[in-house]
């Protein structure tokens, strides 16, 4: 009887906690469509990543920026967020030129790229690395740091985005000299 009373009391407390939903406000989402993807070679030798020039980049300082272009102008003002109608479930990166001896031409080098763990403008990160879908667009850029040292030379990467509907979008980076 005593245990039953305790269980009932605990349940009451938990139910009471569960009913307090005022603290969390679900943001208002507007839907948007992914219309294009643009790739940028970024130079991260300095304090902040900058767009690479034709002079090339030190091979340990290469960042890949993926811009997700949508049919809506994304901004976070007025607590309004955009959600992709057709979310990105997979992001693959393959070499166009051999990365090094371990990764020849056409090799899947997705795991060689890691989310850049630093707040950079509009960076939403690649949540597919954790098995999630990219759909909430509080920004529209994905910064990925190359964490495997490539061999010196000209490099280009092919990025393939797979959407929830099965549609694929494929783009290639402009060849860049990594020295």
């Amino acid at each position: 009887m005593k245990h039953l009373l305790r269980i009932l009391l605990t349940l009451t407390v938990f139910l009471g906690m569960g009913c307090d939903c005022e603290g969390f406000i679900e943001p208002e989402y507007s839907s948007c469509k992914l219309t294009d993807v643009q790739l940028h070679n970024m130079n991260n030798e300095g304090k902040q990543p900058v767009e690479a020039t034709s002079a090339g980049i030190k091979k340990e300082a290469y960042l890949l920026r993926i811009d997700l272009i949508t049919d809506s102008l994304l901004n976070n003002t007025h607590y309004r967020f955009y959600k992709l109608e057709d979310g990105i479930i997979k992001l693959n990166i393959n070499t166009v030129d051999a990365l090094n001896q371990d990764y020849p031409v056409g090799a899947d080098v997705t795991t060689c790229f890691k989310n850049y763990p630093r707040t950079v403008e509009q960076n939403i990160g690649d949540s597919t690395q954790k098995g999630d879908t990219i759909n909430v667009m509080y920004g529209n850029k994905i910064y990925l740091a190359l964490r495997t040292t490539p061999q010196a030379g000209t490099h280009s990467f092919r990025v393939t985005l797979t959407l929830a509907s099965g549609k694929k979008i494929e783009r290639e980076t402009t060849p860049i000299m990594l020295y």
């Binding site: 300095g46 304090k47 030190k58 340990e60 300082a61 850049y116 630093r118 964490r147």
Partner: protein, 246 residues
Amino acid sequence: MRKIIILILFFLPAILQAQTEKPKHIIIDVTTGINVNLFEPKFGNASDCLLSTKTISPFIKNRFSYFFSSRWGAFVDFKISSATHSGKDYSNMIPNLYYNLGDDFNRNNSVVLHDGSIGGTYRIENKKWSIRTRLGIGIGEMLVKNPDFTIKEKGNNNLYYIRYTAGDRYLEVDDLLFLNPGISLSYKYGHILFNMDIDYTQFIQKVSYTYDVTDAYTQEVIESKKFAPKNLSGNLNLGLGVSFSF
């Protein structure tokens, strides 16, 4: 531990009363003044500013003394004081090969510090004047900084988080043991005494720091070490106050 010591301090007069038969003499002091920080932390590297505080700060202290003979007695006291980080330049804490991408070091908060001590006191007096010396032991709070930094290696993508933690806690204070000798010069006016009070607090423990470097990509701790300043902390309290004797 701290609570136990406070309880012992609280019941000390009653314990002493039970052990002595002679008439008792109680003095309650209220003192206020300035706390002069004499601590120049030396870690042997550029992180000395972790424990640097402003030199002068105010304090207020209450002391309860119980004399179980005409000369000898015991006391318990509690002090609150203010302390502010000195905000020294910390740029040397980031090696030249790294950029500092962000830190929380510039928050120079003012914090109220508490300490309490217990000890013995000896008194010499005539009709108008009284000199009381004392030696106590106690626990006091010391203002500490627990900064964290995000640093980036120059010329590559490497990012690290550096975290300094004082006393394995994320609090702004650390509790340390101290000894405090002191002296009070008093002018007696009936049951009231007007005092000039000098106390020196010598900490006998050092703040133990933990330094962790974490790879920002993998969250793996790649370096962890403990260190402490080479010297002990101390401060001088200069105060004026009034006492009531019973």
